[in-house]
């Protein structure tokens, strides 16, 4: 499998959790559909075309990283209906640094993706349309390895039992800095589109876990790619 790795930085980033309405809570990392959307923007594809591109080429993906801080940005807007203004609070991660990986057996598709991230069709953004992303570096690699240590990353399935099991092997761990947030989510992985840019409905979900602080597994490995000094585990898109 050939993989394209992309290192990104941004000043702000927000990946909206659709369960929340007036308070736009953000996932800690871009979920699978956000990764597809980001690649679609780089390729110049519509949301539906981007999804088809990933389906056709059987891509695997991975993402690791975090921000240096966050805020709850206040939006105040007037509907001009005479009922006054409304507000929305949106969580924004600040000064972020992410490593993304996209891998496929179709090498031409991976190289196409790398070229797209080098020269994106649309300016890349992370969440809202002004959260500009800077592409620091792109590389191609076929070095998929097994890693034991996960930190600030996204993995398939519910990771919590596996983390707790590390106690049996004398390991130490911390689940999350903010223990009020869930770790495992049923995230959308596919949408049904009415047209290229039209309304969409969730067509498929899969269980994923957001891993926060570092945990080293004594009895389990994860296939992934080393991007600099960061290990990025891969999952099926």
């Amino acid at each position: 499998m050939l993989c394209c790795t992309i290192e990104l930085k941004s000043v702000t980033a927000s990946f909206r959790n659709p369960e929340f309405q007036n308070f736009h809570k953000s996932f800690p990392l871009p979920p699978p559909t956000a990764l597809i959307g980001l690649a679609g923007a780089a390729l110049g594809y519509s949301p539906r075309q981007a999804q088809d591109f990933f389906d056709t080429n059987g891509f695997r993906a991975g993402v690791s990283g975090k921000g240096e801080g966050m805020t709850r940005d206040l939006w105040k807007y007037d509907r001009l209906t005479g009922t006054g203004s409304s507000i929305i609070l949106r969580e924004l991660y600040v000064n972020t640094h992410y490593r993304l990986v996209f891998g496929s057996e179709n090498h031409a598709a991976v190289e196409q993706l790398r070229q797209a991230f080098d020269r994106p069709f649309y300016a890349l953004t992370l969440g809202q349309s002004d959260s500009l992303a800077k592409v620091m570096q792109t590389t191609l690699t076929d070095a998929v390895t097994d890693g034991r240590t996960l930190e600030n990353t996204l993995v398939e399935g519910d990771i919590v039992p596996a983390i707790l099991e590390q106690v049996l092997y004398g390991g130490t761990f911390a689940l999350s800095l903010s223990t009020s947030d869930p770790i495992a989510y049923q995230l959308p992985t596919r949408f049904q589109y009415k047209s290229d840019y039209g309304m969409r409905t969730v067509a498929k979900r899969k269980l994923f876990s957001f891993v926060g602080p570092k945990v080293t597994f004594q009895n389990q490995t994860f296939p992934g790619v080393q991007v600099g000094d960061v290990f990025v585990p891969l999952f099926a898109l």
């Binding site: 930085k9 206040l74 800077k134």
Partner: protein, 299 residues
């Protein structure tokens, strides 16, 4: 490779300001928007939506007709503009979305123009020092001579950093121009140069009556690119003496050399020193306008 974008990362010097109101935490303290870093430091910022508003207001002040704002098409939607990018510069540069339903209340028929201009928030490089301006008012009193109400306003002073990226190939073309066709090269160039003028003299309207603040750029790193990448995004910074780290910017220019068509570093000497390789703001803006003329003359 063809040139397609213009990116500018800039520094503004804000001397004494309460730039952008945050969510109220205490009833009689008027807060400013801040991000909280993992180490506990708080950095004030002017949101990207406020920067857009500042640019739009400035365009109007400079004589451009801006798109009239009207009620939303949907009951719970936000107000919308005329959605006419051929006629109005702000609909062209800043894009729009109207979530109106189609025939027979069919959903998913939004009218969208993806903004070819992206503006990041203006984020302070120095932390909030808990400074508060003390004030009193009589606004809530029905009779004259009553006890005044006290209130406090969070204020901050420091250097702020922001970024603008303009997708030159999408200005005056694409979504919203299906009926009229893309604008003439001359008009497209005028609009982008108009935006640059607004940017050079940018002024935020928030709380300026009590805290007059200048958010116009005092240093900028700009590049005309064949890749839509905001290469200076996090790289423009100041050292301990408050001077711009020009050496760091030279490494950015070197790292992204193959993607850069032209570049310029420009400063206002009254605020930052002028290191080698850095020109005056006047010359910097002249260079940017020439890039714009050259781009549209060739496209």
């Amino acid at each position: 490779m063809k040139t397609n974008s213009l990116t500018i990362t800039y520094l503004s010097k804000v001397s004494f300001a309460s730039l952008n109101g945050g969510d109220k935490e205490v009833d009689n303290i008027v807060t400013i928007k801040k991000v909280t870093l993992d180490n506990g430091d708080q950095l004030p910022y002017l949101s990207s939506q406020a920067v857009r508003r500042a640019l739009r207001d400035k365009l109007e002040e400079l004589g451009w007709a801006v798109s009239p704002v009207a009620k939303a098409s949907e009951d719970k939607g936000a107000a919308k503009t005329s959605l006419d990018p051929a006629q109005y510069i702000d609909d062209d540069l800043f894009g729009f979305m109207d979530a109106a339903k189609g025939k027979d209340a069919e959903k998913g028929k939004a009218t969208v123009r993806t903004s070819p201009v992206r503006v990041e928030a203006l984020l302070a490089l120095t932390k909030y020092q808990e400074d508060l301006d003390f004030g009193t008012n009589y606004m809530a009193k029905k009779v004259e001579g009553g006890q005044p109400n006290i209130f406090e306003t969070e204020i901050h002073s420091g250097i702020y950093r922001g970024t603008i990226l303009i997708e030159l190939d999408r200005v005056g073309a694409g979504e919203g121009f299906e009926k009229t066709g893309k604008l003439s090269a001359d008009e497209r160039a005028k609009r982008v140069q108009g935006l640059i003028d607004a940017f050079q003299t940018m002024w935020s309207s928030g709380r300026q009556s009590r805290f007059l603040a200048d958010i116009s750029p005092k240093f900028m790193a700009a590049a005309c690119m064949n890749s839509k990448n905001p290469i200076f995004l996090e790289a423009v910074r100041t050292d301990r003496n408050g001077q711009v780290d020009v050496a760091a910017l030279q490494t950015v220019l070197s790292d992204y050399d193959q993607f850069i068509t032209s570049s310029v570093l420009a400063t206002q000497e009254g605020v930052f020193g002028k290191a080698e390789g850095v020109v005056s703001l006047k010359d910097g803006f002249s260079a940017i306008k020439q890039w714009i003329r050259d781009y549209y003359a060739a496209n």
